[in-house]
Amino acid sequence: MSGTTLDLRGRTTPPGQRNLGTDVDPQVERIARTPEFQQLVSERTKFGWTLTILMLIVYFGFIGLIAFDKSLLAVKVGGTASLGLFAGVFVILFAFALTGIYVARANTRFDALSDALKRSVAR
């Protein structure tokens, strides 16, 4: 069962107060300490949460407008179509675009960092 194969009998403590030298899995500890790992994780975590928050703002902004300011969404934009219609389609396209932005960055930057990490661990 791969879910339990990591042979980790020892303990580690949070990075801030890391107490090395105990019976920690040396491989894990070594990877976690590499600058490549720390850079990968900090960049990707920051990026992922930024995009998540953007998605939350846009979606709940849309729902908020529907709940609190219907008249704004009823405003006509060029003939029959209303602003709400464009807003709804925008939310859909925005969600797709965000996933695209994430994947583009992950395919280039994060995968490169990840490869560098694997090379550095293999050394």
């Binding site: 069962m1 791969s2 879910g3 194969t5 990591l6 980790l8 303990r11 580690t12 403590t13 949070p14 899995d25 894990v28 500890e29 990877i31 976690a32 790992f37 990968l40 994780v41 990707r44 992922g48 949460w49 995009l51 998540t52 998605m55 979606y59 709940f60 849309f62 729902i63 908020g64 529907i66 709940a67 219907k70 008249s71 969404l73 009823a74 006509k76 003939g79 029959t80 179509a81 209303s82 709400g84 219609l85 709804g88 389609v89 939310v91 859909i92 396209l93 969600a95 797709f96 965000l98 996933t99 695209g100 994430y102 994947v103 992950a106 395919n107 995968d111 990840s114 694997k118 661990v121």
Partner: protein, 560 residues
């Protein structure tokens, strides 16, 4: 009044054929036997059974059965994800809602889509790096196997059960309408076919059923939307102008209507849809069918595009229904002197807008095709659910909890097949029992439980170092129970089903309350947990963290 309407509609639509099972379909007239539709459906069945036969011969190991050997490509997996997610109700229910209310249909389309970026940014890659077959593999990675497997499996089975009942009842009603087959036949056909796909073909067959269905559904919907736009010279503005002219509500269909009048309800619905997507067991399982985190990432990206495209199509189809069907009396039950209500008297109810529009733009054979696609859609969704339920029983409950890891792969897979058969039989029985019940709230409940139990347990165990077994167990239970209790005390069950005069819980969507409660419980109980096990679990986070972020040590694509 608005709230009643909102509540009913929210609960009714949620994500699936539940909509087709709504109260307005309660007394469905069995239609005349629709031969073109039946023939096309038979063709689909033969094709998928052929695939199942081939898949069965290649399914040997547990990895084959649960995860198609990890050999599904990102493109194929994205179609399968879309196939799992685009239900008959999304197609028929949302186009019907657009037909009656215009803009309001778009609220659901957006809600169903925005969960996907969250899945991508927070869940997909880490899930692939940590797990093997089920999301419980991931949640229990460094926590106590027994407790976490139990809570994850219970969350999975509750979601699967409610989703499945709604789908079965919806399928029976829909097939009565579309094919002219009796309700019980329809339920039995769906149940037997899903057993065959899952028990014999495992994940491989289920995946290909999803892929074929997704292609058919996307193709059919594209053709319909294209035909509608073609009639208006590919100028959406002309379509909207015509729709506003013929719709009884006139220009009001272009603006938010009475559907979302209560902000709390609207936001709660949004929370449930958004985070429920990230907790649906049959969707999460799909990430284990690809070779690595990169493929998991790409499949979510493509799937988001396909699903978004599909929801835009349903919107055009709904408006096409308004513009092309509303002034044609042949699609309505006519009253005395040929009078009819454009919103209420559509033949088969407003869920049939897309089906009737198929006839209007493509004639009786295209109508048959769309009917067959709707049937195939239900079948594919129930097959995915059955596989997720069977895996929770065999891989989580049996192999890890009851046998405590002391079982063989072969034995586990056999048990999974038996579970699939049992789930299928239970689903047929429940579909039969619930025929005349209002099951519309069940899909909403499935999403709420996924958002309040599965998602918090999964997210906290992956993302927060401090999560302990006691915390995850307590939080998952609290989320599960509050979601179920709040729905039972809400209007949809407490008043509509149990016949009490007033609801005890004022909202139909519990997720805004139950999900934060689950997260808070995990956080507080974990903080208070001073056991030695808790210390070990916090310490083990480091190893899990490294693997979840890098994939180093993750199980490869193939078990052989």
């Amino acid at each position: 009044m608005n709230r009643v309407l909102l509540g009913l509609t929210l609960a009714t639509i949620a994500a699936s054929a539940a909509y087709a099972a709504g109260p307005d379909l309660g007394a469905v007239q069995q239609a005349a036997t629709n031969w073109p539709a039946i023939l096309m459906f038979l063709f689909f069945v033969l094709l998928t059974l052929g695939i199942t036969y081939k898949a069965a011969k290649g399914t040997k190991s547990a990895a084959d059965f649960y995860a198609a050997g990890g050999g599904i490509s990102a493109g194929t997996n994205s179609l399968a994800i879309a196939g799992d997610y685009m239900s008959a109700a999304s197609f028929l229910g949302i186009s019907g809602l657009v037909y009656t209310s215009g803009f309001d249909g778009l609220i659901y389309s957006t809600g169903f889509l925005v969960g996907w970026p969250i899945v991508l940014f927070l869940i997909a890659e880490r899930l692939r790096n940590l797990g093997k077959f089920t999301f419980a593999d991931v949640a229990s990675f460094r926590l106590d196997q027994t407790s976490i497997r139990i809570i994850s499996a219970v969350g999975t089975l509750v979601v699967v059960a409610f989703y499945l009942i709604a789908q079965m009842v919806g399928a029976g009603k829909l097939i009565q309408l579309l094919f002219g087959l009796p309700y019980l036949y329809a339920v039995i056909i769906v149940g037997v076919l899903m057993i065959v796909y899952v028990a014999f073909g495992g994940m491989k067959a289920t995946t290909w059923v999803q892929v074929i269905k997704a292609c058919l559904l996307l193709g059919g919907a594209t053709f319909m939307a294209g035909a509608v736009l073609f009639k208006y010279g590919f100028n959406p503005e002309a379509l909207f102008a015509n729709a506003v002219q013929v719709h009884p509500k006139g220009d009001a269909i272009m603006a938010p209507g009475g559907l979302v009048s209560n902000p709390v309800e609207a936001i709660s619905l949004g929370v449930g849809l958004m985070f429920g997507t990230a907790g649906l067991p049959h969707i999460l399982m799909r990430f284990f069918t690809v070779s690595d985190a990169q493929a998991a990432r790409k499949s979510v990206f493509y799937a988001t595009g396909l699903i978004g495209y599909f929801y835009i199509l349903t919107f055009i189809i709904g408006f096409g229904g308004i513009a092309l069907l509303m002034s044609d009396p042949s699609y309505f039950k006519l009253g005395p002197a040929g009078a009819f209500d454009k919103l209420k008297d559509m033949i088969g109810g407003t869920n049939m807008v897309a089906v009737n529009l198929a006839n209007a733009v493509g004639g009786p054979y295209f109508l048959g095709f769309i009917s067959a696609v709707a049937f195939a859609t239900i079948l594919a969704v129930v097959a995915g659910l059955t596989l997720a339920g069977a895996s929770a029983i065999s891989h989580d409950l049996y192999a890890q909890v009851i046998a405590r890891g002391r079982t063989t792969e072969k034995h586990e897979v056999n048990l999974s097949k038996i579970s699939a058969v049992v789930i299928g039989i239970v689903a047929i029985y429940l579909g039969y029992v619930f025929e005349n019940q209002n099951v519309a709230f069940m899909v909403g409940l499935a999403f709420a439980v996924a958002a309040s139990c599965n998602f918090p347990v999964l997210a906290m165990s992956i993302l927060w170092r401090g999560t302990t077994t006691w915390g995850a167990l307590a939080g998952g239970l609290v989320g599960l129970l509050t979601a179920v209790i709040m729905v039972v005390l809400s209007k949809a069950v407490w008043v509509a089903t149990l016949g009490n005069p007033a609801p005890l819980f004022p909202y139909d969507n519990p997720a805004l309350f139950s999900m934060p409660l689950a997260f808070a419980t995990i956080w507080i109980v974990s903080l208070m947990d001073r056991s030695r096990r808790a210390q070990r679990e916090r310490a083990a986070f480091e190893a899990q963290y490294v693997r979840s972020e890098t994939g180093i040590g993750a199980s490869g694509a193939h078990a052989h």
